[in-house]
C-alpha cells in the first residue's frame, strides 16, 4: 500500500514523435563517441605493468628517439568507447542481414567457445610438431569433411580468404600448365563474376576475356566453346552463380574446357546452397575455394578474418602449396618445407607464413560436427527454400529478371519495378535501414540494372521472413504511390544520414591529424 501515487506510470498524452534536437547530439540510447585521439592521453594506460627491470640495453643505437603520439585510455574509458561504437553497427545478431553473396547466417557461440580452448588459442605455429598433434588432427578432420562434401582429391587449407583461395587455385593451374611445358595467357570470366575473379587472374599476368551471359542468367556452353583456344588457361565460374542460379550446363562447360586442355576454376562463395546436394567434384571442377566465413559460418567480424581453403582435382593435387597434410600410415603429418618431398609432391610454393587460419578451422569444424551430414543438407535446403519463398512472395511487386527458373540460396531483382517512381535501388536500400534492416547487396552483379541481391539464409524463422517480406512490400508500394521523400531522405533514423563519399575520396583524410596549436592555427 506504499506510495502507489509517487511517480506517474503512464506517459502523458504524446504528440506525434518528431526528431528532437538534443544539447549533446545524443539520442537516448544512441550516444555519440569521440575518437581515441580526442579523449585519450599519452600518459594514461589501461594496463598496469611493473616497472621494467634495470638491465643493460641491447638496442645499440636503435632506441626510439621521439614520442609516438599514441593515446591511452583506462579500462572503464576503453570499455565505454568500444561498447558505444559497437552500438552504431548493424549485426546478424540484431536482425535479418540479407546481403546476397555474403551469407550472413547465424554464428553459433559454441564455435567461439571452442576456439578459445587453450589447446587451440594458446599454441604457436612453430612449436615442436610433437606438441601440437591435436592441431594437426583437427586440420586433417576438417580436410576430410571438405573433401567428402566436394568429392575432390586434395585440399589446400592455408588461403586466408576467398580471394586468397582464388590466387591459390589459379597458381596451381599455372603450375600444372608449366609442368606440361605450356604457358597459356587467357582466363575466361563471366560478366556476372565477382570482382575478385578478374583481379586474381590479372594479378597472375593473365588476360581476362569476359564471357557474356545468356538471357536466362546462366553461361551458354556455346559461348564458352566459341572462346576456347589453345591459349586459354582456365575458366573461372561461380556456381551457383552470382545471379543466384545453378549453372545447369556446367558439366558440358567443364567437358569443353578440359577438351581444350584448360582448367575449370570454381568460385565456391555460394557453396552454401548445395552442400549435401551435389558435389563440385562430380561436375568437373578442378579447383574451388570455400569461404569458411560464409558457408561454415565463421563470423565476418566487420570485414574478416576469413578463410578460403581450396579443394583440388587429381590433376592439380600435386601442386598444392606448402604447408599441406600428408597421411603417413594413417597418421596426419604437417609438411612445411620442400625437404624430403615425395616425387609426386610438387608444391607451387607458399601463400602465407605458418599454416593458415587455424581459428577459422576450429570454428568451421565445430559447425560441421554440430550439423552433421543431415544438418548440413538441411541448411542448404532451408537456404534455398527461404530464397524461393521471398521470391514467390515479392514477384508481383519486384522484377526478377531471371525469375523463370528456381533460384538457389539468393534471389536477384532489378530496379525496373521502380521505374518512374524517382526511387533508385540506393534509395530503396537506405529506406530499409530506417525499417530496421540491413540492405541487400546492391548494384551487384553488374549484369542487371540496379541489382538487388537478397540472401535470407537458413537462419530466419518463418515469422522473420514474413515480416521482412511485408516490409519490402510496404516500401515498394510506398515508392509506387509517390512517397519519394521517404526514400530520398533515408536513412533518417540511423546513427548517420547519408555520407558524402565524394568528399571522402576528393580530399582523403585517412588518419587523425593533431590540431595545430592555437598560435600556429591563427597564422
Amino acid at each position: 500500500m506504499m506510495n502507489t501515487q509517487g511517480r506517474p506510470t503512464r506517459p502523458a498524452e504524446a504528440e506525434a514523435a518528431t526528431p528532437v534536437a538534443t544539447f549533446t547530439g545524443n539520442r537516448g540510447l544512441q550516444i555519440e563517441e569521440a575518437l581515441i585521439f580526442e579523449i585519450g592521453r599519452p600518459d594514461v594506460s589501461g594496463v598496469d605493468l611493473p616497472p621494467a627491470p634495470k638491465a643493460a640495453s641491447r638496442l645499440g643505437k636503435h632506441a626510439r628517439r621521439a614520442p609516438l603520439g599514441l593515446p591511452g585510455l583506462t579500462e572503464p574509458e576503453a570499455v565505454r568507447h568500444y561498447v558505444r561504437l559497437s552500438r552504431q553497427n548493424y549485426a546478424i545478431d540484431l536482425g535479418l542481414y540479407p546481403l546476397g553473396s555474403c551469407t550472413m547466417k547465424h554464428n553459433p557461440r559454441l564455435n567461439e567457445a571452442m576456439v578459445r580452448l587453450a589447446g587451440f588459442a594458446d599454441i604457436h605455429p612453430l612449436q615442436p610438431l610433437s606438441t601440437v598433434k591435436g592441431a594437426v588432427q583437427l586440420m586433417q578432420e576438417l580436410s576430410h569433411w571438405l573433401l567428402t562434401m566436394t568429392g575432390m582429391a586434395a585440399v589446400a587449407l592455408s588461403p586466408k580468404a576467398g580471394a586468397h583461395g582464388e590466387l591459390c587455385g589459379m597458381m596451381a593451374i599455372k603450375a600444372a600448365l608449366a609442368a606440361r611445358g605450356e604457358s597459356r595467357s587467357i582466363v575466361l570470366v563471366p560478366e556476372s563474376a565477382h570482382g575478385t575473379n578478374p583481379a586474381t587472374a590479372a594479378q597472375l599476368g593473365y588476360k581476362v576475356v569476359p564471357v557474356p551471359a545468356r538471357e536466362d542468367g546462366t553461361v551458354d556452353p556455346a559461348a564458352v566453346k566459341a572462346l576456347l583456344s589453345p591459349d586459354v588457361a582456365a575458366i573461372m565460374l561461380t556456381n551457383p552463380n552470382t545471379c543466384g542460379l545453378f549453372e545447369r550446363d556446367i558439366v558440358e562447360i567443364a567437358e569443353a574446357v578440359h577438351a581444350a586442355g584448360a582448367f575449370f576454376y570454381g568460385d565456391g562463395a555460394n557453396f552454401n546452397a548445395i552442400v549435401g546436394k551435389v558435389r563440385p567434384g562430380d561436375l568437373g571442377v578442378d579447383a574451388m575455394h570455400i569461404n569458411l566465413h560464409k558457408t561454415f559460418s565463421t563470423p565476418h567480424g566487420g570485414g574478416g578474418p576469413g578463410s578460403g581453403p581450396v579443394v583440388l582435382s587429381k590433376a592439380l593435387a600435386p601442386f598444392a602449396p606448402l604447408p599441406f597434410i600428408r597421411l603417413d600410415a594413417g597418421e596426419p603429418v604437417l609438411v612445411e618445407t620442400e625437404e624430403g618431398l615425395a616425387e609426386a609432391e610438387t608444391p607451387f610454393g607458399r601463400l602465407t607464413a605458418f599454416h593458415g587460419q587455424m581459428g577459422m578451422y576450429v570454428r568451421a569444424l565445430a559447425y560441421m560436427l554440430a550439423h552433421g551430414a543431415d544438418g548440413l543438407r538441411q541448411a542448404s535446403e532451408d537456404a534455398v527454400l527461404s530464397a524461393n519463398y521471398v521470391k514467390a512472395r515479392l514477384s508481383d511487386l519486384f522484377n526478377a529478371p531471371y525469375g523463370g527458373r528456381p533460384c538457389m540460396h539468393e534471389v536477384l531483382f532489378d530496379d525496373s519495378s521502380l521505374e518512374g517512381t524517382g526511387v533508385s535501388t540506393l534509395d530503396f536500400a537506405k529506406a530499409m535501414i530506417d525499417e530496421g534492416y540491413h540492405p541487400m547487396t546492391m548494384y551487384f552483379p553488374l549484369v542487371v540494372h540496379g541489382a538487388m541481391l537478397i540472401e535470407p539464409t537458413e537462419s530466419e524463422s518463418l515469422a522473420s521472413l514474413d515480416l521482412f517480406i511485408a516490409t519490402l512490400r510496404d516500401l515498394a508500394m510506398a515508392a509506387k504511390a509517390g512517397d519519394t521523400e521517404r526514400f530520398r531522405q533515408a536513412p533518417r533514423l540511423a546513427p548517420r544520414r547519408r555520407l558524402d563519399e565524394t568528399r571522402a575520396a576528393r580530399s582523403p583524410r585517412l588518419s587523425w591529424k593533431d590540431p595545430l596549436p592555437a598560435a600556429e592555427a591563427a597564422e
Partner: protein
C-alpha cells in the same frame, strides 16, 4: 536442429506458397544424375556437449604455451592480452557484422578502422596506413607488387634478414606474376652487404628489423642508397611491440612498412587469423592495396567515416585493381586497436622495455651455459644462439622435459647445414625468472 528455425510445418507452407511439392524441385537445374540421393558419408548431427567433447579431446593433445616455459617467436609472440579485449571483440555488433558497405549503420566498425589506421601510422612512423591485410607475410608480398607498380621496375631484392616464410610468400607471388625476386642468403650474424645489391633495375629492397635472427638493422643507409637509384625501401616488422622501444622504420626512410600485428590483441592461435599492418607515404595512396577508411560528413554535416578510394579495388576496377583482396582481418584489427588503446604510449613503452629486459636476462642465462653462444650484439625480445649440436634434436629433448625452447632455424631453413645448430629464442613479459632458470638448467643437462 538447434540452428534451424524452420519447422517441417513451415517448410510445407513455404513449398505450397512457391508451388513445389518437394524441395528437390528447386534443385531442378542440377543435372539429375549428379544430385545426391542419400546423405554424405559423414557423421550426423551432434549436441553441444558431444561437440565439446570431441573438440576438447583434440585440444588436449596440444601443449598450450601458457602451461610450460615457452620461448618460441619467429613472427608470432606470446603476450598477455587484457581480458577486456576479448570481451569487446565478442560484442555481437562487431563480431557478426559484414564489411562496412552501408556506412550509416556501420559507423562503429568504420571509426575503429580509422583509429586503427591512425595508430598504425604513428607506430610505424608513416603518413598513412590501410585498414589491414591478412597478415604480415601476405602484406609483404603485396608491398613488393606495389613497389613494382610505383617504380615500373620488376626486380625485388630480399635481404637475408627476412623471415624465410615471408621470403617464400614473396618468391611465390613474384614467380607467378612474372617478376624477378633476388633473395640474399640467410644473415644470422648481420653481416650482409645489401647496398651492393641495389641498382638501377631494383624496384624495392625488403629488409626486416628486428631481423628474423633478432638483430636490429640500420635502415637509413639502405633507404638512402635505394632512393639514390630510384628504388623503394620496404621495411618489415614481425614484432610490433618492438616499436615501443626502437626507431620506427618511417623515421629511417622506409617507403612502405609492413608488419605482423598479432602481438597486440591476438592470440597465437597456431598461426592465424592475424592482421597485417600496411603503411606508406601519402603520395603513394592510389597504389595501396586493401580497404581504406576515410573521414567525411553526412547529410546533416556530422562527422562520419566511409570506405574510400575504392577505385583501387577489385569490386570497382576488376582486372585493373591494385590487389584482389576483399575480406581481410577486421576483427583482428579491432583486437589490435583495443589493445593499443589500452596500452597507450606509456603502456606500450613500458611493455617494450619489459620485453627487452626479459630477453636480455634470458640471453644472459643461456650464455652462461657451457657451449652456448649468443650471436647478437643487438636485439629486442628475440635473439639467436649457436648450440654445440643439432638444434632441432635439442629442442625435441627439451620438449620431452616440458620446455618449449624456441625455433630451430632448420625448421625454417631446411637443407642448410650451416644453420642447423642455430636456435631462435624469444622472451616476453610472460616469461618468468623461473622459466629462464628452468630453460638454462635443462639445456645444460641435454647438451
Amino acid at each position: 536442429m538447434r540452428y534451424h528455425p524452420l519447422t517441417d510445418h513451415d517448410r510445407a507452407h513455404m513449398r505450397a506458397t512457391i508451388g513445389v511439392g518437394a524441395v528437390d524441385q528447386l534443385f531442378s537445374d542440377v543435372p539429375r544424375d549428379k544430385l545426391l540421393s542419400g546423405l554424405l558419408d559423414l557423421p550426423t548431427t551432434k549436441s553441444e556437449l558431444e561437440v565439446e567433447r570431441l573438440m576438447g579431446r583434440m585440444a588436449a593433445r596440444n601443449v598450450a604455451a601458457g602451461s610450460v616455459p615457452f620461448f618460441v617467436g619467429a613472427g608470432a609472440y606470446r603476450h598477455h592480452v587484457p581480458a577486456s579485449v576479448d570481451h569487446l571483440i565478442q560484442r555481437s555488433e562487431f563480431l557478426t557484422s559484414y564489411t562496412p558497405y552501408q556506412p550509416e549503420i556501420a559507423q562503429g566498425t568504420l571509426q575503429v578502422l580509422f583509429e586503427f589506421q591512425s595508430q598504425v601510422g604513428r607506430l610505424t612512423g608513416m603518413e598513412v596506413a590501410n585498414a589491414g591485410m591478412y597478415d604480415g607475410s601476405t602484406g609483404c608480398g603485396e608491398a613488393v607488387l606495389m613497389a613494382h607498380r610505383l617504380t615500373r621496375r620488376n626486380k625485388a631484392v630480399l635481404s637475408g634478414t627476412l623471415h624465410p616464410q615471408y621470403r617464400a610468400v614473396v618468391e611465390t607471388l613474384g614467380r607467378m606474376a612474372g617478376d624477378t625476386v633476388e633473395a640474399l642468403p640467410p644473415d644470422p650474424e648481420a653481416t650482409e652487404d645489401i647496398l651492393a645489391r641495389i641498382d638501377g633495375q631494383t624496384a624495392c629492397v625488403v629488409v626486416q628489423s628486428p631481423s628474423v635472427y633478432g638483430h636490429l638493422i640500420d635502415l637509413a643507409p639502405i633507404a638512402e642508397k635505394a632512393h639514390a637509384v630510384g628504388a623503394l625501401l620496404v621495411a618489415v616488422v614481425t614484432e610490433v611491440v618492438a616499436l615501443g622501444a626502437i626507431e620506427p622504420p618511417g623515421a629511417q626512410g622506409a617507403d612502405i612498412v609492413v608488419g605482423e600485428g598479432q602481438s597486440l590483441g591476438n592470440p597465437l592461435g597456431f598461426g592465424g587469423p592475424y592482421v597485417g599492418l600496411f603503411a606508406t607515404r601519402e603520395k603513394f595512396i592510389r597504389q595501396l592495396p586493401g580497404r581504406l577508411c576515410g573521414e567525411t560528413v553526412d547529410a546533416d554535416g556530422k562527422r562520419g567515416f566511409v570506405l574510400t578510394l575504392s577505385t583501387r579495388e577489385q569490386h570497382i576496377r576488376r582486372d585493373k585493381a591494385t590487389s584482389n583482396i576483399c575480406t581481410s582481418s577486421g576483427l583482428c584489427a579491432l583486437a589490435f586497436s583495443i589493445h593499443a588503446t589500452l596500452l597507450g604510449e606509456a603502456g606500450l613503452t613500458r611493455l617494450a622495455a619489459i620485453n627487452h629486459a626479459s630477453a636480455a636476462a634470458t640471453a644472459d642465462a643461456l650464455a652462461a651455459v657451457p657451449g652456448v653462444k649468443v650471436l647478437n650484439d643487438t636485439f629486442f625480445n628475440e635473439f639467436t644462439v649457436r648450440l654445440p649440436g643439432d638444434a632441432a634434436a635439442i629442442v625435441e629433448k627439451l620438449a620431452a622435459k616440458g620446455i618449449i625452447a624456441g625455433v630451430p632455424m632448420s625448421r625454417l631453413e631446411p637443407g642448410r647445414p650451416e644453420l642447423a645448430d642455430l636456435l631462435l629464442v624469444a622472451a616476453t613479459e610472460t616469461t618468468t625468472d623461473d622459466d629462464r632458470a628452468a630453460f638454462a638448467a635443462a639445456l645444460a643437462e641435454v647438451l
